[in-house]
């Protein structure tokens, strides 16, 4: 295959698989800030396979396999054996609020004037699970139930993470706004 054909093939695979790879890497990585690097590593590996005429069958599953390997490579193999308790610290910090109803408009809790950079910086200070939940809820547009199934946690836990973090985000943005006004 010529270089041009390789590029075309690569772009095709990239378009078809980017979102699923992104979702996988976000769910597996330790920090959202690492996601871009890992995704790039994955697709560089994919490109190498293309130029060595490696036949890629079951493209999505194959590339997710590469992504898994790259995540482990990025963090070291200790990461694989590390027991990541989804309820880790959050178990003590977040109280389960079973009374939170599904139809609660979570978005209204966010301050209207939203500085995206500030929100991103704030989210990066939160735990990995909260970052994953936000990504899956806003970017992948999954429901709370789907998020719970993806991350193997309870729905209440997902709701609480969202609700509590958005409340904190709101207070954070209000403080930021007060500072800026001054």
């Amino acid at each position: 295959m010529t270089g041009q054909n390789n590029l075309e093939r690569f772009n095709e695979i990239y378009e078809n698989t980017y979102q699923s790879v992104l979702k996988y890497v976000v769910c597996k990585c330790a920090n959202l800030a690492d996601v871009n690097d890992i995704v790039q590593e994955v697709y560089i590996e994919v490109y190498k396979k293309i130029i060595t005429h490696h036949k890629i069958k079951h493209t999505n599953a194959y590339i997710i396999g590469i992504a898994r390997h790259k995540v482990y490579q990025y963090y070291g193999y200790l990461y694989r054996f590390k027991t990541i308790s989804l309820f880790g610290k959050e178990k003590d910090e977040i109280e389960l609020i079973d009374k939170l109803e599904d139809e609660t408009d979570i978005e209204r809790l966010v301050y209207d004037k939203c500085d995206l950079e500030s929100v991103w910086s704030y989210l990066n200070t939160k735990s990995t699970n909260i970052q994953r939940i936000f990504f899956l809820y806003y970017n992948s547009e999954l429901t709370i139930k789907e998020i719970a199934e993806t991350l193997h946690v309870g729905e209440s836990y997902v709701k609480n993470c969202l609700y509590r973090t958005l409340k904190e985000l709101k207070r954070f943005m209000e403080k930021e706004s007060d500072i800026n006004d001054k």
Binding site: I44, D112, Y138
Partner: protein, 244 residues
Amino acid sequence: MTNKEMMKKLFHDKLNQEKNRQRILARITSEPQKQVVYGKWLKIAAACMLVLTAAYVLYDQRNPTASKEKEVILHINEISKPIYIENDAEDCKKTESELIFGGCYREPLDAASDAQANAAIDCLDLSGLDIPDDLIDSERNYIYHLQSDRNKNNEDLLQYEKSYTDDDSERSIKIQYTKGNQPIYAEYIEEGKASIINKQKLYIYRYDNSYIAQLRLNQMNVTVETANITESELIALLHSITKE
């Protein structure tokens, strides 16, 4: 724009698909060149390692003593008094043999005209000995006897001796060996710490500039006596005696 849309935009900007693609393509175009360079140097390094290894193996094969030295465990036992016991001059005059010590005489083999002893002198294979270059076979073989006179029988034969000396007779090596008897100096030397050369146990003693090495080889007791021979020359000699 709703807040949900804004949050989606946030993730879209931060984990941007198109930006990532551009970065990937930039790395793809620059990385192959790096790989070629690294790959080339790795191959050169691997080739050098191979050559060095081959050279080392070749050198080791051509210098067996160098590698055999690793098989040497050396203990030189220092002795404080000389082995030789001075002979009574009067006794020496009476005999044609050299009195070594009480009851033991050293005599040139050919002088004894002992055909059987002559034939038996080669019971120890001394070919391939690593003798210092300045020493040559003296071609004088000796036997040690309990009797001083000519009428000797083999029951009195203690051991044989071959010797190598330099022109000035200052440096010498004597190799004494016996099949059924103890080394003649055995009772005069306290057993010291053993050395090992070529998996062969032996005892090495030093007095002044002389060495005595005693070992059991092919069911024979062998004693090597040296004068003014260096330790490394002695080790090389013992290597050649004990090699299989």
